[in-house]
Amino acid sequence: MNRRLQKFLPFLSLIILFVALSIASPYFLTANNLASVARQTAVFNTMALGMTIVIITGGIDLSVGSILGLAGLGGAMALEAGDPVVVGVLIGIAIGTACGLLNGFLITRLRIPPFVVTLGALGIYRGVALIISNGLPVHKIPSGFSFIGEGNLLGVPFVLWMLVICAVAVHVILEHTRLGRYAFAIGSNRVASVYAGIPVNFHITAVYAIGGALSGLAGMIEASRLMTGQPTAGQGYELQAIAAVVIGGGSLNGGEGSVVGTLIGAFIMGLLSNGADLLNISNYWQQVIIGSVIILAVTLDEVRKRRAV
């Protein structure tokens, strides 16, 4: 009951927002606009899915934006060198996974808080991307690559298909596998998890690796949409991903969060910025609105939890 209520409130807000925007702007409910919302939010959504598992363990990954940049650049360089699209995408995902593994390894071996490790990693991965690219974007990418970010499959944006597959996979991991259960347990009570004989370090590392892989994929989507490998891509995206998780009911204290919640959170943010564009609200005000929504969403969630106790 409690958990259902938790999912219900953000969902209701999303519906209300959707209806309100349909009434306020005649352009909102057009196939073109909705497809563009889907494409715009796909990158954040993919990153936020990984961030959800990380936050459920009570951790945080501030380096996902930099991972996105590094992975997108690496994948684009492979494409420029003549690799097929699939290989390029896999290379991007592999780079993301490696970055995540390194994060997880440092967090568990050095026993340093995730906030600090990934804050350092944010700088390192970004710096590496700038060093290997000399600060210059990679342009010579085969035109077929644009299908990922801009193409349609069965009349629906291809990124939406990818997002659905990733979301279902992460949902299954969280709710139906040992890894997911351990993520919740570690976030809810790490000591009790160690005492229950759970290999805690292994699972924490795995969680950051998954987050890295999804950021790598997001990097390839971003590269495909821009048709460039930008070493500076994804700056500040980590905060968007964290915001989506938090709006969707995830707790930075760990032990709480869901795929459905995160998707709703990401779409709320996507609709807000799309709606603001359609209604000619300035970019400056958009930031104020989205910031307020984050605080409001978490406040409502907290009030509800306090009442439940």
């Binding site: 139906h176 919740f184 809810s188 009570n189 009790a192 229950a196 004989g197 032990g255 439940a308």
Partner: protein
């Protein structure tokens, strides 16, 4: 005129009635016991007195005047202070800083003065010395034992200049000597004319410290009066609402073969020295000792949390390398820690997840969880242990202390462990649940488990354990058979054994 009078207090939280008819009268210069099982409404009633929770209806009279307290500082201003069971201290600050937290002394005049560290230290030292606590004002609170923290709480409350002090189970985490110190303080405060409300679950404390008692059951005051006029059996009956013939009695079993042998174990970091101990199938080995004697530390060492410098551990007759809790769990060892909320349960997860946590292999099919099997197993164990919960999906954090303890035990039952280390298994749980926990331990022993039961409640050890091992300053100071006296146990716990 009584100091405090509560009449027909009612309080609901959402759909749950916490108090339906709370009545309590406390006079100056008396120690008034507040008794009742967990969930009876004691804490809620006290939170209303201390201004933490607002009442829905009923009257609260303070020196004959009706008052309505909205915040703890309003209560403090009137002279009501509470010594909390769960320490509400800032662990990174020093003892002195905690005592004066929120009421810091300043050097200069007015709001711009700096915090007067020296003065605070002096004053804290004076308060501590007055009661003979083994504390230094500079010590960080994070390094103190639960007993030490309790003492800081007491200093803090006394310093307020209160006329009514509420003690919420002050001795539940203390050793006997420390308990005596608390009693001395309480008597001293009483002699100074303060009113004292004292919540406890320890039945052998009642007459040592109390003058009168009020019993709450299901949110209602069911008895109130002088302690001299009522027997302990009657009081317990009021608390549980039924006859309690023999709460803890257990048949004696012949112990079987050794399941766990500890040989000459020493751990430098926790000052364990040369421990040898054997736990046998079907036997409950009691373990007594003062706080800090090394009982919890021994459990930690056996469970692979602290690495030993020397000695060995044998499981089922074979040497076992237990270097992590994971290895201990795989060897069939279960640890029921003294603080289940900190290290025993994932409070924000459902009961079902907690039950299966130590044995996910059993509910995994090709890497996927069989959630139906999990729900079934959790319900079955819950039924067997008469767990009071709506369903396996209920969050563990919403259960009462006794039921949380049952979930912890269920976790190890699901793991099919056969060596159980119980560290203060009845801490903070009410009498009815205590009896159920003992029954569970008895059944485990009957089914062939070896059990170590660490407890500071000597009466419980006497009734439940087959033999009692006593620890003192990191060593085992002796062993006593079933039927030994409390004096014998205390002697071993306090004094060096004659060679």
């Amino acid at each position: 005129m009584p100091l405090l009078e509560l009449q027909n207090i009612q309080k609901r939280f959402g759909g749950v009635t916490a108090l339906r008819n709370g009545n309590l009268t406390v006079s100056a210069g008396e120690v008034h016991l507040l008794l009742g099982e967990n969930g009876a409404g004691k804490s809620t009633l006290m939170k209303i007195v201390a201004g933490i929770v607002e009442r829905d209806s009923g009257r609260m009279l303070w020196n004959g005047q009706e008052v309505f307290l909205r915040t703890p500082s309003e209560a403090a201003a009137m002279g009501i202070a509470m010594v909390n069971q769960e320490s509400l201290l800032a662990p990174h600050l020093s003892v002195a800083e905690n005592i004066f937290l929120g009421r810091e002394k300043r050097t200069g005049a007015g709001r711009f003065g700096m915090v007067d560290r020296k003065g605070a230290l002096e004053l804290a030292r004076h308060t501590i010395a007055q009661y003979g606590f083994p504390l230094e004002p500079e010590w960080p609170v994070s390094r103190l034992s639960p007993a030490g923290r309790q003492m800081v709480e007491i200093c803090r409350a006394i310093h307020h200049g209160s006329s009514l002090l509420i003690f919420d189970e002050p001795t539940s985490s203390l050793s006997d000597t420390e308990t005596d110190q608390v009693f001395r303080i309480v008597r001293d405060l009483k002699a100074r004319g303060m009113g004292i409300i004292y919540i406890t679950h320890r039945m052998n404390e009642l007459r040592v410290i109390g003058d009168s008692a009020t019993v709450l059951r299901d949110g209602e005051t069911v008895h109130s009066g002088r302690l001299a006029e009522i027997g302990t059996d009657r009081l317990i009956q009021h608390m549980v609402g039924r006859e309690v013939a023999q709460i803890y009695e257990r048949e004696h079993l012949e112990p079987g073969e050794p399941l766990l042998e500890v040989r000459n174990l020493s751990v430098e970091s926790t000052k364990l020295k040369n421990i040898s101990l054997t736990l046998r199938r079907g036997e409950i080995t009691g373990m007594a000792g003062l706080i800090g004697a090394g009982r919890t530390e021994l459990c930690r060492a056996i469970f692979g949390i602290d690495a030993p410098q020397s000695g060995e551990i044998l499981v089922g007759g074979k040497p076992a390398r237990i270097r992590s809790p994971r290895a201990a769990v795989q060897a069939g060892i279960a640890l029921v820690t003294e603080d289940r909320q900190v290290s025993g349960l994932a409070l924000r997860l459902p009961i079902g997840s907690n039950v299966t946590l130590a044995n996910m292999e059993r509910i995994s099919r090709l890497g996927f969880l069989d959630l139906k099997y999990e729900a079934r197993a959790a319900s079955e164990l819950g039924r067997k242990m008469s767990l009071k919960a709506s369903s396996p999906a209920q969050l563990a954090g919403t259960l009462s202390g006794g039921n949380q303890q049952k979930v912890v035990i269920a976790k190890w039952l699901f793991r099919q462990s056969n060596i159980f280390l119980f560290d203060e298994p009845t801490r903070g749980i009410d009498i009815g649940a205590k009896a159920e926990v003992f029954e569970l331990m008895g059944e485990l022993a009957r089914n062939g488990a070896a059990i170590l039961m660490v407890s500071s409640e000597l009466t419980e050890l006497q009734h439940v354990a087959d033999r009692i091992v006593v620890m003192r300053q990191g060593r085992i100071s002796g062993e006593l058979p079933r039927g030994c006296s409390q004096e014998q146990i205390m002697k071993l716990a306090v004094m060096e054994v004659a060679a």
